[in-house]
Amino acid sequence: MPTIRIQGATLSYEESDIITFDEGLIGFPQLRRVVLVRQSDIEPFLWLVPLDDERLAFLVVDPRTLVADYEAHVPRDVRARLALDADDRVLMLCMVVMRADPRRSTVNLRAPVLIAARAMRGLQTILADSSYRVDQPLLAAEAA
């Protein structure tokens, strides 16, 4: 079984866990295949781990755990880009910038990663005409 390493831990995954990003991530067009890693001790965070460069891993979080009414209505180009069919479910995740000072840790609500759960295809989109911030503080107190 193939494995990946995250923060010193070796984890195994299966071929069926691989999510295809046809366009890569923004600024990283070469990262086409990723796996999503859940570790109970860091939930609600997850790791988005590109298989095409084993040194890299993105910490992500479902924005709705932070902003209850987060509404990224899936832009129409995304439906086409993901070849999304009507009964597939879209998983929404946002990139986290964690810093040693927790008050400076932020989440990118402006450019969510969207994953078609059944088709296992994903992409990162930029929400147009949105007031969501690229660097929204993770802690509510800092956001006020």
Binding site: Q7, W47, L66, R76, D77, V97, M98, A100, Q124, L139
Partner: protein
């Protein structure tokens, strides 16, 4: 880089499906109209560059001590539970 001169009302076609039209020129501002397939995303470059920079910054998180991530996870869970009715 291909450089083309276009007047107001003139167009450029990219590939078979993307058409860029110069709609108006006012001083140093050019207004462009872009027609592209639905699956093609179009953004101002600054926005794209900002997201790219944010993604690069996000990569540094995996170098952080795990304890810091765990602590933040715990705080967020607590905030989230408190927010529930």
């Amino acid at each position: 880089m291909l450089v083309l001169s276009r007047k107001s009302g003139e167009k450029v076609v990219i590939g078979n499906e993307i058409v860029v039209e110069v709609l108006a020129i006012n001083g140093d501002v050019v207004k462009l109209g872009i027609t592209a397939p639905r699956a093609t995303s179009v953004h101002r470059f600054e926005v794209f560059a900002e997201i790219e920079a944010a993604n690069r910054a996000a990569l540094a998180s995996c170098e952080l001590e795990r304890e810091l991530i765990e602590q933040m996870a715990t705080r967020l869970k607590r905030e989230h539970d408190r927010a529930k009715p």
